[in-house]
């Protein structure tokens, strides 16, 4: 009896101890003498780029005006955000979620805002930039305050701080990814809204990104050597070619100053005209949606 048991157990032991495969061979790091290919971006350049982005507040106003119904489907699902593995995805996701946060602000979806804040916090933690993200305050603002502007403002500054910190700690690649995320998700949301309810203003936002994309690609191309940048950049270049047929013209004009009580407003006289066909718009919109979906279904 005892013998039998021993026999049985030893068989189990043999079976369970086998089954090693070569997929678990550890790859040692690169030769330590190899110089690290360090890319540094001029902060000025990034700041200028960010400034060129369509302002989230402006975007919000546009969407609000259109009275497009809220759809959670348009956002990056938080579960997906939880699955982001590499820093590449995390940084990109951090940017995307912040754009989503702007969208949620428009509809004042408090529960969803907290949910997204939590996701953002987790990603920020993982990237060691959580110190710039005052989760508790943001959460309080989201749940108690009606002043969504303040929330927007705080989250935007948080982003600037995180971005700066990333660059300060030699992580320009992540900084670039984060701003790419913000931009791409903004464009995606605009495209989605526009598909639901076509509107000139929105269309112009979408097709008017020609120069911004060019600048962004300049930054992204610096990291072509880094893993995964290659594939992403290729898609953005494809997008850039779709803008070739879009013509943007800047027309000079005189600035106008309006006084409304204590507030003085400067309305720039300079304005742009954009020439595009509906086909251009559709192609661009679809490409944006495609790139964005590719990137989050990692």
């Amino acid at each position: 009896m005892v013998k039998k048991i021993f026999f049985l157990l030893s068989i189990i032991a043999i079976f369970s101890s086998c089954g090693g495969d070569d997929s678990s061979d550890v790859i040692d790091g690169p030769d330590t003498n190899d110089k690290i290919n360090r890319v540094e971006i001029d902060p000025e350049k990034i700041n200028a780029l960010i400034e060129m982005f369509p302002s989230p507040i402006e975007m919000a106003a546009t969407i609000e005006d259109l009275k497009v119904p809220y759809s959670k489907k348009n956002l990056v699902p938080t579960e997906t955000a939880g699955d982001f593995d590499a820093n590449f995805e995390k940084a990109l996701g951090l940017g995307m979620l912040s754009a989503d946060l702007g969208y949620l602000n428009v509809y004042k979806r408090k529960n969803a805002i907290v949910e997204y804040l939590t996701s953002i916090k987790r990603l920020a933690d993982a990237l060691d930039v959580d110190q710039f993200f005052d989760f508790q305050t943001l959460k309080r603002l989201a749940t108690n305050s009606t002043d969504m502007q303040k929330l927007m403002y705080l989250s935007v500054t948080s982003y600037h701080d995180m971005d700066a910190h990333l660059r300060e700690t030699r992580r320009s690649d992540l900084s670039a990814l984060m701003i790419t995320g913000v931009w791409l998700e903004g464009q995606y949301l605009a495209a989605k809204v526009n598909q639901f309810k076509s509107d000139k203003k929105t269309e112009e936002i979408i097709v008017g990104q020609k120069d911004i994309l060019k600048e962004l690609l300049e930054v992204l191309d610096m990291f072509n050597e880094k893993a995964r940048f290659d594939g992403m950049n290729k898609q953005f270049h494809e997008l850039a070619t779709l803008y070739d047929s879009v013509k943007i013209e800047i027309i000079d004009g005189e600035d106008e100053i309006i006084k409304e009580g204590d507030i003085t407003l400067l309305i720039p006289g300079e304005h742009t005209t954009i020439e595009y066909t509906q086909e251009d718009l559709n192609k661009i919109s679809n490409k944006i949606i495609q790139i964005r979906n590719n990137l989050i279904s990692l």
Binding site: F6, I12, S24, I27, P30, D85, D125, R171, K226, A227
Partner: protein
């Protein structure tokens, strides 16, 4: 009698009977009665037929021979002569043939019995013709019996008058004067005829016959006139009048001249007082010499057990002494080692072992010099002596599940002590629970021992008359520990009857049947006063004190000459290692032979492993069917549960070990056997079992859960935990009195282990009274679960194939990040808060004194933390340099620079200059000297430098890590994620990094305590001894050195286990319990 003997006998009977004129009626009757006395009725006819069959055959042969002779008519006269006067040659040859067959199958003893029976047959009709005697002589020759013995038997059978029998092998019992020279004699009361007993030395047999006409009973059956009986061990011969003759009496008479060593046992004024103040026994005085069977009787609670314990040296008396051959038993124990034996009332047998094994291992422990075959022979002999030989291969079993009878158990118990033949033997109630036959057998056995010169004390309860009379001396105790009688047992009855004024008080036993009624004694002693209504009152007629006085006054005291020889001791216990080997084999055998135990123990662990692992093998993604180790949130609970399983199994498997052996241990203490070798053997077996259990558990559990490449680590931790639990179990099993208590105790031991294991409750969130902010609380440090759990958690996190590649980067990142993000801002905050407080003072807001108190605290914090951080900076630089150079570690090209200053290339002086906050600045951090402008702002600047410095370190580590991952992913796409999913566990990662903690940094008095990512925080090394650290610390500090947590913890568990060996060895826990037991139940 066996079938073979019977068959041979029938054949031989037939041959003998046909001699001369053939079978006489008387002879046939003899055969029949003989068979009747041996067999049941149905079998009698069977053998009778066999006998007649043989006779008929013999007759036919005789006829044929006759006819042949008649056919040949020559030499008629001569032949006739031969026919009538001599044995047929053919018969002789046939007898030889039968005997040759018998020789092969029968033992010497049996052959002697056959021979005696043949004589008896011949003697039945006194037809002692020459032919018949010749046949018997042929048989005797064939059986290789000596002529002398043959003659002895012949004489014994043939001669009826004892006066004709005078040899050293004869013993006579009659009421006449003993006039013989050589024969032994036992005197009897009036008896018709005599009883004659023959001792056949070669076979160690006694034969008996009675020549008178009265009713004499041998073992309760009538002994017929002139019939020969075997007088077997334990037999009793009851004569019409007087004491029965026991086998032992006969043996004693024959052995009278044997040389035996002398003993004197002198008890003087013995008193034993319990710790409670009660007196167990008092004023005991008596002496006795060797070769006596002393009975100890008394009502329950009269102190019999105390008496035996004190007399045998188990307990030390409060007053008086016991001297054996002048040596004080209690104070010169060494000198009389092995002299005393003790047979407690309880069973001392190991249930799982056979009768032989029980005795054999016991013997092995007593005689180191005996060779293997000698030992086996001795054991066999002892078993034979006690009539247990046939049962030798039976398992003893327990009293509930009997394989051998109660009497046999008792005899085996006695055999354990008997085999080493101690000179003085104490036996506690050997007859309790036995049938009267078994009781008599057992007592007979003890009685025989006294013949060899042993002194035997027997506590006896309600003995039968026969047993009572076997005693040489009787000691009677009365309530309160008074000795109310010591002396001849039958005289005791007379003594008490006399005092009680009973009629016939001068007669001790019944004049007709010879019975003694020992109960009578207690009836008299305990007789109560009757009140006027005829009801018994609680008051005794005669109190114990009075009884004692009566004894002192009326009973003559026996003085025993004090002997000064060294008392004989035959104890030769083997050395430590040999004892260990014997214990080991004995224990192992008893375990292996218990199939249920083995199967259950071997299956339990893997089964639990399977159940546990199977239940929690969880796939997080609802859409997927692939199991991902990384996503299984149940890994930390699995680790914890494994430890709980190890503790439980280890505890339960050992919790009864010593408890079960307790009685055996008590006896073995007498033998002065080594407790440590006993314990070591026990531990060895338990730990081996635990090792196997741990292997099985880990193999099954880890395989199912996909915990890869950590089998050994899990095994060693679980095994160590098992061993600790084993030790814990052994301790309680040694200390407590019942199995129930032990099992009640298990939760008490287990729950704290579970609660303080670190998995259920966070250590920094415990009650303040036991909690500790920066270290595991001491109360948890004594829990083995905490060490085991931490060891596995840390090892599983740090040393899995995934994290192992990145741990050092992560650790440096984590440290640098904590400093720049949490610690340094906190210090700056402190400086700023001082300033704000100063403003409040200047503005005369609030209570100045209390504000200054707060300011003092801020400064104290700064002073303490800054001087600590000054050192930390050099520590981290040293580590980075070590990796950069690859000194004993994998080379990692750290590259730390800020403000165009390369930290890792700078010399110490430069570093000190630029990074260290100078001593004078730290010294100024007191309320008297501190100045915000001169000190505070400089400090803030310096802290800013620190921040930059740590940021630079962070950057470098992060960059290198990303570089490594990028490289790996390039070589093999998705390498990082694949490895992580396979070897790393997210939930475990969350726990050891303490991500659920809100306060990443905690201020406690003048200290800042890091709560963030404890797995990356090196332990505090300010205390030289170290050991204590925060939970999940990756390393441990001990005596000036750092050790990996895994091995440190494993060794710590072993150290704890070994520490538990000390109380186990000295039985501290039991003593402690006894101590408290005595306090709480103290009577006034």
């Amino acid at each position: 009698m066996s079938e073979q003997i019977l068959k041979a006998l029938m054949q031989l009977f037939a041959i003998i009977a046909k001699q001369d004129e053939g079978v006489v009626e008387q002879e046939e009757k003899f055969v029949k009665t003989f068979l009747e006395s041996q067999l049941s009725k149905s079998q009698v006819s069977e053998y009778m037929d066999l006998f007649i069959n043989h006779i008929e055959k013999e007759e036919k042969k005789k006829q044929r021979a006759k006819k042949k002779r008649e056919a040949k008519q020559g030499d008629k006269e001569v032949r006739r002569g031969a026919e009538e006067g001599q044995v047929n040659v053919l018969d002789s040859v046939r007898v030889m043939g039968i005997c040759r067959k018998i020789n092969k199958t029968l033992s010497h003893k049996q052959k002697v019995i056959v021979l005696a029976r043949l004589f008896e047959l011949v003697n039945a009709e006194k037809k002692l013709t020459e032919q018949r005697m010749e046949i018997i002589s042929v048989v005797s020759d064939a059986f290789h019996l000596t002529t002398a013995e043959y003659k002895e038997i012949e004489n014994f059978v043939i001669k009826d008058d004892y006066r004709d029998l005078d040899s050293e092998f004869i013993l006579t019992i009659h009421d006449r004067e003993h006039l013989q020279l050589k024969a032994q004699h036992i005197n009897s009361e009036s008896l018709h005829g005599s009883v004659i007993i023959l001792h056949l030395k070669s076979a160690e047999l006694f034969f008996l016959k009675y020549t008178g006409k009265q009713d004499v009973f041998l073992n309760s059956t009538t002994a017929y006139n002139n019939r020969i009986y075997l007088f077997a061990p334990g037999s009793v011969l009851k004569l019409p009048k007087g004491k029965p003759i026991h086998y032992s009496d006969v043996v004693a008479t024959f052995m009278k001249d044997l040389k035996i060593s002398n003993l004197s046992f002198k008890v003087t004024n013995l008193q034993y007082k319990f710790k409670t103040g009660d007196i167990g026994i008092r004023g005991i005085n008596f002496s006795v010499s060797h070769g006596k069977l002393v009975g100890i009787m008394g009502a329950s609670g009269s102190g019999k057990t105390t008496m035996v314990n004190t007399l045998s040296g188990i307990t030390t008396p409060s007053e008086g002494s016991v001297k054996i051959n002048g040596i004080d038993l209690h104070h010169d124990k060494d000198k009389i080692e092995g002299v005393i034996g003790y047979i407690p009332q309880d069973d001392l047998l190991i249930e799982e072992l056979t009768v032989f094994q029980n005795l054999y291992y016991n013997a092995k422990l007593c005689f180191k010099n005996k060779k293997e075959d000698e030992l086996v022979k001795l054991v066999h002999k002892t078993l034979k002596d006690l009539g247990l030989y046939e049962k030798k291969d039976l398992k003893v079993g327990n009293p509930m599940n009997k394989t051998i009878s109660g009497g046999q158990r008792k005899r085996l118990n006695i055999a354990l002590e008997l085999i080493r033949e101690p000179s003085i033997l104490f036996v506690d109630e050997p007859t309790s629970g036995l049938s009267s036959r078994d009781s008599e057998n057992v007592m007979e056995l003890l009685s025989e021992l006294t013949l060899k010169g042993k002194l035997i004390f027997v506590v006896i309860h309600q003995p039968s008359s026969d047993i009572y009379k076997m005693f040489d001396r009787m000691l009677i105790l009365d309530t309160g520990g008074y000795m109310v009688y010591y002396g001849n047992p039958v005289d005791a009855v007379i003594h008490f009857k006399t005092i009680d004024n009973q009629i016939n008080s001068e007669v001790g036993e019944c004049s007709i049947c010879g019975n003694v009624t020992p109960e009578l004694i207690f009836d008299i002693i305990e007789a109560e006063v009757v009140d006027e209504y005829g009801q018994y009152t609680d008051k005794r007629k005669i109190s114990s004190v009075e009884w004692e006085k009566h004894y002192q006054d009326k009973v003559a005291k026996e003085e025993v000459e004090e002997i000064n020889d060294e008392p004989p001791a035959d104890l030769n216990i083997p050395g430590w290692f040999n004892q260990f080997k014997i214990f080991l084999t004995r224990d192992l055998l008893s375990k292996i032979s218990n199939t249920q135990y083995i199967v259950l123990n071997l299956l339990e662990a893997p089964l639990l492993g399977f159940i546990l692992a199977f239940l929690i093998r969880y796939i997080a993604d609802p859409t997927s069917s692939t199991y991902v180790f990384f996503d299984n949130e149940n890994i930390p609970p699995y680790i914890f549960m494994s430890i709980v399983v190890a503790l439980f199994l280890g505890l339960t498997v050992s919790a009864e070990e010593i408890f079960r052996d307790r009685k055996i241990l008590k006896r073995e203490k007498f033998l002065h056997l080594s407790r440590s070798s006993y314990l070591t053997a026990k531990i060895m077996i338990l730990t081996s079992l635990s090792a196997i259990q741990a292997i099985l558990f880990v193999l099954i559990g880890n395989s199912i859960l996909g915990i890869q490449g950590m089998y050994f680590e899990y095994w060693i931790v679980l095994f160590s935990t098992f061993v600790f639990a084993n030790f814990m179990g052994l301790n309680i099993s040694s200390a407590f009195n019942s199995a129930v208590t032990i099992y009640i105790l298990i939760p008490l031991l287990m729950i704290p282990q579970m609660a303080l294991g670190g998995a259920m409750f966070s250590f920094n969130k415990l009650n303040r009274l036991i909690g500790s902010v920066d270290k595991v609380p001491i109360i948890a440090d004594v829990m083995v679960s905490r060490w085991a759990y931490e060891a596995l958690m840390v090892e599983q996190f740090k040393e899995n194939k995934f994290e192992k590649q990145y741990y050092i980067y992560n650790q440096i990142k984590s440290t640098a990040n904590f400093k720049q993000d949490k610690l340094i801002p906190k210090l700056s905050e402190s400086i700023e808060s001082f300033e704000i407080l100063q403003d409040e003072i200047n503005d005369k807001v609030g209570n100045k004194d209390s504000i200054i108190e707060i300011q003092k605290m801020e400064l104290a914090l700064l002073r303490n933390e800054i001087s600590k951080e000054n050192k930390e900076i050099f520590k981290i630089i040293k580590t980075l340099k070590k990796y950069k150079k690859g000194q004993g570690v994998k080379q990692i090209p750290f590259d730390v620079y800020y403000n165009n200053f390369d930290v890792l290339k700078a010399d110490n002086a430069t570093l000190k200059d630029s990074l260290v906050i100078p001593e004078n600045l730290i010294n100024s951090l007191n309320i008297k000297d501190y100045d915000i402008e001169n000190h505070g702002y400089i400090l803030l600047d310096k802290l800013e430098i620190w921040k930059k410095f740590y940021l630079a370190i962070y950057s470098s580590a992060n960059e290198l890590k990303e570089e490594l991952i990028g490289f790996q992913d390039k070589r093999k796409p998705n390498y990082y994620v694949q490895f992580r999913n396979k070897f790393h566990n997210e939930h475990l990662d969350d726990i050891v990094r303490n991500i659920y903690e809100k306060n990443k940094i905690l201020r406690f008095k003048d200290k800042l305590i890091r709560q963030e990512e404890p797995i990356y925080l090196e332990p505090d090394a300010t205390n030289f001894i170290g050991i204590r650290a925060h939970f999940y610390s990756p390393n441990k500090y001990f005596m000036g050195k750092f050790y990996g947590t895994f091995w440190f913890n494993v060794l710590f568990i072993w150290a704890m286990s070994l520490l538990l060996y000390i109380p186990l060895y000295y039985d501290h826990l039991r003593k402690l319990i006894d101590f408290f037991g005595n306090i709480s139940f103290k009577k006034k």
